[in-house]
């Protein structure tokens, strides 16, 4: 499933990243959003999501979040 299905406050595991050639996916990867990583969906605001990953908080737009496959 992708992040759209998650509820605010839910914890999840990143299963896969699609379109690894996309520079923004590359950036996410370098920011630590990578397979096996555990994260929490903190907030949703229209087009953007706020996730917590370790000690960092990352804003991701919905179009980009579609490339991230997650699992509970």
């Amino acid at each position: 499933m992708n992040m759209e299905m998650l509820k605010t406050g839910e914890e999840f595991t990143i299963r896969a990243l699609k379109e690894k050639e996309n520079p923004m996916i590359n950036k996410l990867y370098a920011m630590g959003v990578k397979e096996g990583g555990k994260a929490k969906l903190l907030l949703k605001n229209g087009r953007v999501y706020l996730i917590k990953l370790g000690n960092s908080r990352v804003i991701i737009d919905r179009d980009l979040a579609k490339f991230i496959e997650v699992a509970h």
Binding site: K20, N26, K27, A30, G32, V48, R57
Partner: protein, 688 residues
């Protein structure tokens, strides 16, 4: 002679690089742009013992892989400039993630100092990093620092010198045998020592052998190897104690990022920044204006007279030189105040949150949420607003926002609007002024739409951004940045404004000893009449007054006063006898009053700096009433609203987007102003 060391500061965004550099550099910090791009560049030269250390702050990046302009700048700098030492600033609370960039930096073989920043926060979170083991494993210098307080700054300087003096380079990261074998072959073939360059070459060429074995493209193989190295390194030196700690940032975010409450807080913050910046700086701006024109200018006049200088030189010096410098200086309190609050909000972690909060709304206009801050600032003064647009990450968004800002009507335009509406629209001045403000917003939106269609095509870039935790920035850090910006403004914009004010003075005063109606400016003004006639402005005195108004829009009124005075016999204010002792006393009292006014304005919830004194220029109003119609006055106001007739704005625009784009924009605003004024004037004529 001192030995010069070039030190590149590299690190992820929000790791406290700037704070650390502030503590190292203090007032020697300089801000500017990387050549050809609108990415901010901070640098400083610090002297330590026998060394002159030149620090260059690279853009905050997560990796050296080319994602945006930021990574390209960093890689180009490391390859071409080859710094003597790299100062790698690391957020200790996110140690492993930061090690990816460290791994890539180690590939360059350049002596490296790791500043384990935010060591206090890491300690509170139970994170322990084994410094000596890290030092031993990588053969680099390691220092614990706290950017907020400046702890560890001296040790960083010492470590940089030690790293530069050490003849042994840091240990390059070692990857899997298969990758190392391929790199070794390439090394022999290319006779290249730099591992990063070898990897770039390998990615460009590809490696069938490796790719088929691993079942993934070469760039993915390299990426995974770097991650594996960073992970392995973290495992060796990182220890975590389990400390359960309530996260204050998450709690604050629940309120600050709430869809409704967050907006209320944002509006309050914008209002407060507006109110504090303008009301605290306005009395000082007035004081500087008075000090220059009421004290320095007459004083220089008196001094030059006593030296028997020629009359034209006396006027040139007091009006163009002193006046020109004075005009630049009047901006300083406002720019300083706005930068103080913007820097405070940026360093505290609030501004990145605005991007999250406003993204939905701004996205409808094809922009990211962050653009809302400089746009709103534009209503106060376009100059610092354009400078504030630097906080935008994407070049495209930055250009669009900078192009929109000049249409946000500032108080200088309000002075012109108040003057004309009080003559021609006595029944409903507020309605006309509100209409003009809204027209400005519509023109800004139209400009964004147009620029996106023509020059800045392409979809809105994806939005990925890290939100730092909330932090209380130290006053020193904020002030160092404010000073760096003010100094940069004085130097860059100051030189241009100064030169232009001299040129405009020459136009208004040449040929010497001729009346204003026969000056070069009047000649140009008369030649401009056919251009302005279709928009209802057919008096050469009005078109001439627009030439000095390029300095600042409100000057249009005073220059109209001068030119109409010369031709219609309007009495000019007589210059009073200059008494040095009394004037000095007046200036000191005036400065005291400015403090009282600035503090007193805090008691009034309204933004006082935006109120206009309508009682000025009474004599001129009668003359203007005879020479303008209601419709031509409206057309004139629309022209003044849209045309970027402000040297300060033009100067910072040139600084931010370059001479060509800045000048093209000036032409665009002129044509647009003329077209809209033409439309309004002629449709109005048809209706009436």
């Amino acid at each position: 002679m001192k030995k010069t060391l070039k030190v590149a500061i590299a690190g992820n965004p929000n790791v406290g690089k700037t704070s650390l550099l502030n503590h190292i550099a203090g007032t020697r910090l300089k801000v500017g742009n990387w050549p050809g791009v609108t990415v901010e560049k901070k640098e400083a030269v610090v002297e330590v013992g026998d060394y002159r250390i030149h620090f260059i702050d690279l853009p905050g990046i997560y990796t050296l892989e080319p994602i945006s302009e930021d990574e390209k700048i960093a890689v180009e700098f490391l390859l071409q400039e080859r710094p003597d030492v790299i100062l790698n600033v690391i957020d200790s609370t996110n140690f492993e993630r930061n090690l990816l960039l460290t791994t890539e930096l180690l590939e360059f073989g350049i002596p490296l100092v790791m500043a384990l920043n935010m060591s206090d926060e890491a300690q509170r979170l139970g994170i322990r990093i084994d410094k000596s083991k890290l030092k031993e494993l990588l053969n680099v210098q390691v220092v614990e620092t706290v950017g907020r307080t400046g702890k560890g700054t001296k040790e960083v300087l010492k470590a940089i010198i030690e790293a530069a003096d050490d003849t042994s380079n840091p240990r390059e990261p070692v990857y899997s045998d298969s990758l190392e074998r391929v790199l070794e072959k390439l090394k022999e073939e290319k006779r290249e020592e730099n591992k990063h360059e070898l990897i770039l070459e390998l990615i460009m060429r590809g490696s069938k052998e490796l790719e088929s074995r691993e079942g993934k493209p070469i760039n993915q193989i390299v990426k995974d190897e770097r991650f594996a190295f960073a992970h392995g390194l973290a495992k060796e030196v990182l220890k975590r104690e389990l400390i359960s700690r309530r996260d204050l940032t998450d709690k604050i975010d629940r309120v600050v990022l709430h869809p409704f409450l967050g907006l209320v807080i944002l509006l309050s913050v914008i209002y407060l920044v507006f109110k504090l910046s303008f009301d605290l700086s306005a009395p000082f701006m007035d004081w500087i204006d008075g000090f220059i024109n009421g004290f320095l200018s007459p004083l220089s006049l008196e001094l030059l007279k006593s030296l028997h200088s020629p009359e034209w030189f006396i006027r040139f010096f007091s009006e163009a030189v002193v006046g020109g410098v004075g005009f630049v200086l009047t901006f300083v309190p406002l720019i300083g105040a706005i930068y103080f609050f913007i820097t405070f909000l940026e360093m505290s972690g609030y501004i990145p949150r605005v991007a999250f909060l406003m993204d939905n709304f701004m996205h409808k206009m094809g922009l990211h949420g962050k653009s809302v801050i400089p746009l709103v600032m534009g209503f106060g003064c376009n100059v610092p607003a354009i400078m504030a647009a630097r906080t935008m990450e994407s070049k495209r968004d930055k250009f669009i926002v900078i192009a929109m800002i000049p249409f946000m009507s500032c108080p200088a335009r309000l002075v012109v609007f108040a003057f004309f509406t009080s003559i021609f629209f006595r029944k409903n001045p507020a309605l006309v002024i509100t209409g003009l403000y809204l027209t400005g917003i519509l023109i800004a939106l139209f400009t964004a739409f147009l620029f996106k269609k023509i020059e800045l095509k392409g979809k809105l870039s994806h939005f990925v951004m890290e939100l730092p935790p909330y932090r209380l920035p130290s006053l020193k850090s904020v002030l160092v940045i404010v000073w760096a910006h003010v100094r940069e403004f004085l130097y860059r914009a100051g030189t241009l404004i100064f030169a232009a004010s001299i040129a405009i003075w020459l136009l208004l005063n040449f040929p010497i000893n001729k009346p204003a109606s026969e000056s070069l400016a009047a000649g140009i003004g008369k030649a401009l009449v056919p251009i302005f006639e279709p928009i209802g402005i057919d008096d050469w005195r009005a078109t001439t007054s627009m030439i000095p108004a390029f300095l600042a829009r409100e000057i249009v009124i005073s220059s109209m006063g001068t030119i109409f005075a010369a031709t219609e016999g309007l009495e000019e204010v007589q210059t009073q006898e200059f008494n040095l002792a009394e004037e000095m006393k007046n200036q000191v009292v005036g400065l005291g009053e400015a403090f009282v006014l600035a503090l007193g304005s805090m008691l009034n919830p309204k933004v006082e700096a935006l109120s206009v004194d309508e009682s000025e220029y009474e004599g001129l109003k009668e003359i203007i009433a005879k020479h303008f119609s209601q419709l031509s006055a409206l057309s004139f106001m629309i022209f003044i609203l849209i045309y970027t007739s402000c040297l300060g704005t033009f100067a910072v625009m040139v600084q931010e987007v370059g001479k060509l784009r800045g000048t093209l924009f000036l032409g665009y605003s002129f044509v647009l102003a003329w077209l809209v004024a033409f439309l309004v004037y002629n449709v109005g004529r048809l209706i009436s």
